[in-house]
């Protein structure tokens, strides 16, 4: 059982269908065309990180790779750019999951911020090597806004796993 700091609740097992649906919704949100507006969070990155940290045995590098390929196509970026970045992110997130989960949610957000930034840097390096233009520092705002969303997103995605609270003072845990 994983500790959720704020409530210390025992969570119900996760539903695989819910994971798939949440990833699909994130993909849909990413498909909304905002153009070059800075600070739009990468929803797929966010939800993928969440599941890699919370369910590292169910969502892992394979999911990251497939989602990355899909993002490459719908974004019109180089094939393998998102895939590589998401695979590295999934590796780091699942490796760090046991450590990150012990922190309260705000500090968790501080933990995932470098992960997001690292993902963006990987994409940047890949494209700069291929001779693309530097998109400007404002582009990194997307990481910050993604990290800000960590707190609400955790509650939203853990909602189906919460069980009703029982008032039982003699419960052992």
């Amino acid at each position: 059982m994983q500790p959720i700091h704020a409530s210390r609740r025992i969570l119900r097992p996760v539903n695989r269908l819910f994971i798939a649906i949440s990833l699909l919704v994130a993909l849909l949100l990413n498909l909304i065309p905002f153009g070059r507006l800075p600070g739009i969070p990468d929803w797929v990155l966010l939800v993928l990180t969440f599941w890699c940290i919370n369910q590292p045995l169910k969502v892992n590098m394979g999911a990251g790779f497939l989602l990355g390929l899909l993002m490459d196509v719908v974004d019109g970026s180089a094939m393998g750019q998102h895939a590589l970045a998401y695979v590295l992110l999934a590796f780091a997130a699942s490796g760090l999951s046991r450590r990150i989960l012990w922190f309260p949610l705000r500090q968790q957000a501080l933990h995932v911020l470098p992960l997001f930034l690292g993902t963006q840097v990987v994409m940047l390096l890949v494209r700069l090597v291929a001779g693309a233009e530097f998109p400007g520092l404002l582009w990194f705002l997307a990481s910050a806004s993604s990290a800000l969303l960590w707190y609400p997103l955790t509650y939203l995605l853990l909602l189906p796993q919460f069980r009703p609270e029982e008032k039982d003072d003699n419960r052992p845990i």
Binding site: L27, L28, L29, N30, L31, I32, P33, F34, G35, R36, P56, L57, N60, M61, G62, G64, F65, G68, L69, L70, V73, V74, D75, G76, S77, A78, M79, G80, Q81, A83, L84, V87, L88, F91, S94, G95, S97, R98, V126, R127, A130, G131, A132, E133, P135, W139
Partner: protein
């Protein structure tokens, strides 16, 4: 290393170790990147996945469409009337120009026939609408609402009412991707309208740059650049950009000449996709071409040694 930091007992099946998986997927991604960026061999895979993802993409636009419809519905009548009046005025102003242009085109064709030049094909064109700017922050591309179904092909030139916008680079069943002139990998052959000086205009992020012109070339700030038509892609004479300023005192032999595009690259509206120019200059003789190519290849190989 496992998830918990220890190797799991062998009777728990967890698949390959994380590092092995990472190596596998990272190598695969890198191979894909090289295949796509260096050899451009993955267009078929892109087309397949894009076609499969099309319904999802369409669904994601629904909220935007709804917002747009609401905006249209709430447009003030006065605005519409003003716009209508303005359009009427402009139509009257340009009507005589159109009539004269038809006359001139006919005359031009006759003269060309007389001169035994290859007749410039009357360019067919297709109106398309820009749907949205592609999300990729590293390039400048927009998506238009015409694709394979409407016979759009990669390579076609795209213009708006003010000038050249760019070129179709990828075609999907119902949409097409247009690379704007400001993309760093986009180039267009132009000539200075004032004196006919030919040059190559390259994209540089927010603006354009006239490349490889000698420091003493006859270019002045304010000059209009039009397509020269040398590339068999863009018809000649389309306005492209205006010269901002000319920096002669650089350390290199070439002048630095930043330009501003004339077309509204950042606005979303209607554009015209011009038909591919089919008439091409006659190829050099068959026998000469392979020999020259082989020679060039040898030269390159010798050079690389």
């Amino acid at each position: 290393m496992s998830v918990a930091g220890h190797a799991p007992p062998p009777f728990f099946k967890r698949g390959p170790a994380p590092l092995v998986r990472l190596a596998f997927f990272a190598t695969f991604s890198l191979l894909l990147l090289i295949a796509d960026l260096r050899f451009h061999t993955l267009e078929w895979a892109r087309l397949t996945i894009a076609t499969a993802a099309w319904p999802l993409q369409r669904a994601a636009w629904l909220p935007l469409d709804a917002a747009e419809d609401l905006g249209d519905y709430l447009t003030h009548q006065a605005t519409l009337q003003k716009e209508n009046r303005e359009l009427h005025r402009r139509q009257l102003e340009t009507a005589h120009l159109l009539l004269r242009q038809k006359h001139l085109e006919a005359e031009n064709q006759r003269l060309r026939a007389f001169l035994d030049l290859r007749a410039q094909h009357p360019a067919g064109a297709r109106v398309a609408e820009i749907l949205y700017a592609a999300r990729d922050p590293f390039s400048r591309r927009v998506i238009i609402d015409k694709g394979m179904q409407q016979d759009i092909q990669a390579g076609q030139a795209v213009i708006d009412e003010l000038g050249v916008i760019g070129q179709v680079t990828r075609v999907f069943p119902l949409t097409a991707e247009v690379t704007l002139l400001t993309d760093r990998q986009q180039m267009i052959p132009v000539q200075v309208q004032r004196n006919g000086l030919r040059a190559v205009l390259a994209g540089a992020g927010d603006r354009l740059e006239l490349r490889f012109l000698a420091a003493d070339a006859d270019v002045r700030p304010g000059d209009t650049l039009v397509t020269s038509g040398l590339d068999d892609v863009y018809p000649s004479g389309l306005p492209v950009a205006r010269v901002n300023r000319v920096d002669n005192n650089t350390a290199t032999n070439f002048a630095r000449i930043p330009c501003t595009p004339l077309a509204a690259l950042d606005q979303h509206g209607l554009v015209l996709v011009l038909a591919l120019r089919t008439a091409k200059p006659p190829h050099p003789e068959e026998s000469a071409a392979p020999a020259a190519a082989a020679e060039a290849g040898q030269r390159i190989r010798r050079g690389s040694r």
